[in-house]
């Protein structure tokens, strides 16, 4: 099957501002003749930005899992919980389904997102022609899942708001919560800055 040519191939670009399709010359920075918005055939520096955000997220993924995300102090002593200790606690105390939910939402999903993004960016950079449709689907999944792994942060936020009995019991978010939130946000940005059209560019160029 022969793929239809993309606008980039014809040196055409859609304005992000007003949606006007115009001819953009090669090698030059172009502006929309109608509204003056800079024109790009593809998201500029998409790969580099995505890489940067992925790296940042990956770095923060370590403290997010190692640092406590919740500090509980009650009559019976203070306790610091990391994501993993929470999962272990839930598992040990018998709520294995909850443990599974937390584990998937808070540990597997961010990790999977990072891995998926790395695969996408790498494949684009290497101009791989492997399973473009699947890769696009993967991208859509990553984008969709985006904000849904904030489960832990959500729980901590709720608890902090609810349990403030001062002398009896207090719950505070730990530094891990911040790192975890940063990971989620960074992966969302990474997914946003990735241009899925690049997946198909390599297919076209090899066609030509």
């Amino acid at each position: 099957m022969k793929d239809p040519a993309s606008t980039a191939r014809w040196h055409l670009a859609t304005c992000h501002g007003c949606g006007l399709l115009s001819r953009a010359g090669t090698g030059h920075a172009a502006r929309c003749p109608r509204c003056g918005t800079p024109l790009h055939a593809r998201k500029p520096e998409s790969i580099a930005r995505t890489w940067a955000l992925i790296v940042a997220a990956a770095i923060l993924y370590v403290p997010a899992n190692l640092l406590p995300i919740m500090e509980t102090s009650s009559l019976f002593g203070a306790q610091n919980d990391t994501i993993m200790s929470g999962v272990v606690y839930l598992w040990v105390s018998g709520s294995w389904h909850l443990a599974l939910v937390v584990f998937i939402a808070s540990i597997v999903v961010p990790m999977a997102k990072l891995i998926a993004l790395v695969i996408l960016v790498l494949s684009v950079q290497l101009r791989a022609r492997w399973q473009p449709v699947q890769r696009t689907r993967l991208y859509r999944l990553v984008e969709l899942v985006g904000r849904w792994s904030m489960l832990d942060v959500y729980v901590v936020t709720l608890l902090v708001a609810l349990v403030q009995l001062e002398a009896l019991a207090t719950i505070r978010p730990g530094p891990g919560a911040l790192a975890f939130g940063a990971v989620v946000v960074l992966t969302m940005f990474a997914a946003m800055s990735f241009d899925p059209r690049l997946i198909w560019d390599s297919m076209e160029k090899n066609d030509a």
């Binding site: 014809w10 001819r23 955000l53 800055s193």
Partner: protein, 539 residues
């Protein structure tokens, strides 16, 4: 379908304006991973820097230990957390791994002690109640040594005294533990000033060594002359002043306790060095007795029963305890083939002198002492067995002067020297009783009996005669007497003629009296009538 749009279509599209190509700008987005890296790096650095020392604590069992939950606390401040609890390879012990805060690193030395704090009731006090809610934790007492150590063996019982508590530890030695236990109080003038912190059986099994801790500032009252005694029980004394009950405190009755006292003259002495060894006496009296350095051994031979005399019985000189009986032996005298019972005693001559004014005079030389004692014996000093308690029959040895005693000398050549004795008060009593008995024996009891019997027989005969002969006569006489009385009574009755006659006679007598009175009257008025007779006109 053509894969390229028609050119005309393309040309209708507006041409994009060309803008000057912006000069190269550094990709700002790379700041994000940079910041993330910085944050991550900082966090990593921080956690590495804050990483505290990891230590191993060996426990006998893991009761109350829980990985990730059991805390290590010093003065109730969290300084660490148990991260793992594992069994030793030989399954005999439990090794807990704990991560401590970094600041604690310099205090992990050889004599730092760890123990498990659980609710505990001991020594009359309840400790660790807080752990009922919060769970057990590991207590720490920081050591003073400078040698670092990373593996510790936990104490089985929490130390009663923290290492930094001011005060000093002393060692006591006692024959037995009594009712003392860990935490038993130590009293000074009935004030609790310390505790028993440990005890153990001597290696030879002959006694018990105790460790006590006396808190500052009271520890300075412990000098080398301090006496310790077991204050566990009640000391009941029956004296001339009535019953005296002496105990340190009610708690010490239940838990036991140690009391100490420093003799007045020793208070000024410098305080004893830590870990000085003292003897723990059984009671206060024994503790406060002066230690005798000057001991004179003497032997006594008594010719009477020694029942009631015990080793330890006092040797008393006019009320002053001068020594004590140290041994009572039984020997067969090979010469006289008699059984003799030498009583050995320890005399403390210094006691006699202590009560004299000159306390500091040096002890007498042996020669001078011999002469002194010889003089005393010459003046009549003798040893005598005396009864100390009539109820229990306990005896003591009394030394006293008996000026009329037969002359005797101290036999210095026997070993130990033999002091002459005299019969004891009990013996004397026995002797006089014997004399009485002898006299009683001499009485002609049988003769007296025979005579008495004879007398009784005579009496019996006499009584018989009285009964058979005299008595009937008496009865008869009495009958006659009654008859006589009856007759007399009959004669006295109203209607008897005798009575009538008597009345008549009396009446006649009355008339006669009246006539006589008339005659007398007439005569009074007419005395001449006696001569002239009665006048006619008057008749």
């Amino acid at each position: 379908m053509p894969d390229t749009p028609p050119a005309s279509d393309l040309s209708t599209l507006p041409e994009a304006e060309t803008a000057p190509r912006s000069r190269w700008r550094p990709q700002l987005v790379w700041l994000v991973p940079l910041v993330a890296a910085l944050i991550g790096g900082w966090l990593a650095m921080k956690s590495i820097l804050e990483q505290g020392p990891v230590i191993g604590i060996v426990f006998k069992n893991a009761e109350g230990l829980e990985a990730g939950k059991t805390k290590v606390k010093y003065k109730d401040v969290d300084i660490g957390l148990v991260t793992a609890v594992t069994l030793s390879k030989d399954l005999r012990q439990v090794e807990a791994t704990a991560e401590l805060v970094k600041d604690f690193q310099p205090h992990l030395v050889e004599d730092t002690r760890f123990w498990l704090v659980t609710p505990r009731i001991s020594g009359g006090s309840v400790s660790g109640l807080g752990t009922v809610l919060s769970g057990a934790f590991i207590g720490v007492d920081v050591g003073k040594s400078s040698r670092a150590q990373r593996t510790f063996t936990a104490l089985e019982v929490p130390p009663l005294i923290q290492i930094d508590t001011p005060g000093r530890e002393f060692a006591l030695h006692s024959a037995d533990l009594g009712s003392l236990a860990m935490g038993s109080p130590v009293f000074f003038r009935r004030l609790q000033v310390g505790q028993v912190v440990g005890y153990q059986l001597d290696e030879n099994g002959r006694g018990v060594s105790l460790k006590i801790f006396v808190n500052a500032p009271y520890d300075r009252f412990v000098t080398d002359n301090t006496r310790f005694w077991n204050a566990s029980g009640i000391d009941v004394k029956l004296g001339a002043g009535g019953i005296e009950v002496d105990t340190q405190s009610l708690a010490s009755l239940l838990l036991g306790g140690v009391a100490f006292e420093t003799p007045e003259e020793a208070v000024a002495l410098p305080a004893a060095a830590p870990d000085t060894r003292f003897e723990l006496f059984a009671d206060r009296t024994r503790a406060l007795r002066n230690p005798e350095r000057d001991v004179l051994k003497m032997v006594l031979l008594f010719d009477e029963s020694l029942r009631g005399l015990e080793v330890g019985a006092p040797v008393d000189f006019q009320g002053i305890a001068l020594g004590e009986v140290s041994a009572i032996r039984v020997e067969l005298d090979p010469v006289s083939r008699r059984i003799i019972m030498p009583v050995e005693m320890n005399l403390y001559p210094q006691r006699l002198r202590l009560r004299s004014k000159e306390k500091d005079q040096p002890p007498l030389s042996d020669e001078a002492r011999k002469r002194f004692l010889d003089d005393m014996v010459a003046t009549g000093l003798r040893a005598q067995l005396r009864s100390g308690n009539l109820l229990t029959g306990q005896l003591y040895v009394g030394l006293d002067f008996f000026p009329r005693a037969a002359t005797a000398r101290i036999q210095w050549d026997s070993d130990p020297p033999q002091l002459p004795t005299t019969v004891g008060s009990l013996g004397e009593l026995q002797a006089s009783l014997q004399r009485v008995a002898g006299k009683l024996e001499k009485l002609p009891l049988e003769q007296i009996g025979a005579d008495l019997r004879q007398t009784l027989q005579t009496t019996s005969r006499l009584l018989h005669r009285l009964d058979t002969q005299v008595a009937p006569e008496v009865v008869a006489t009495l009958g006659e007497a009654r008859k006589a009385v009856d007759t007399a009574q009959g004669m006295m009755a109203d209607d008897e003629p005798l009575q009538q006659d008597t009345r008549e006679a009396i009446r006649e007598l009355g008339r006669t009296a009246k006539s006589l009175r008339a005659l007398a009257d007439y005569l009074e008025r007419h005395p001449e009538a006696l001569l002239w007779g009665k006048k006619r006109n008057q008749q």
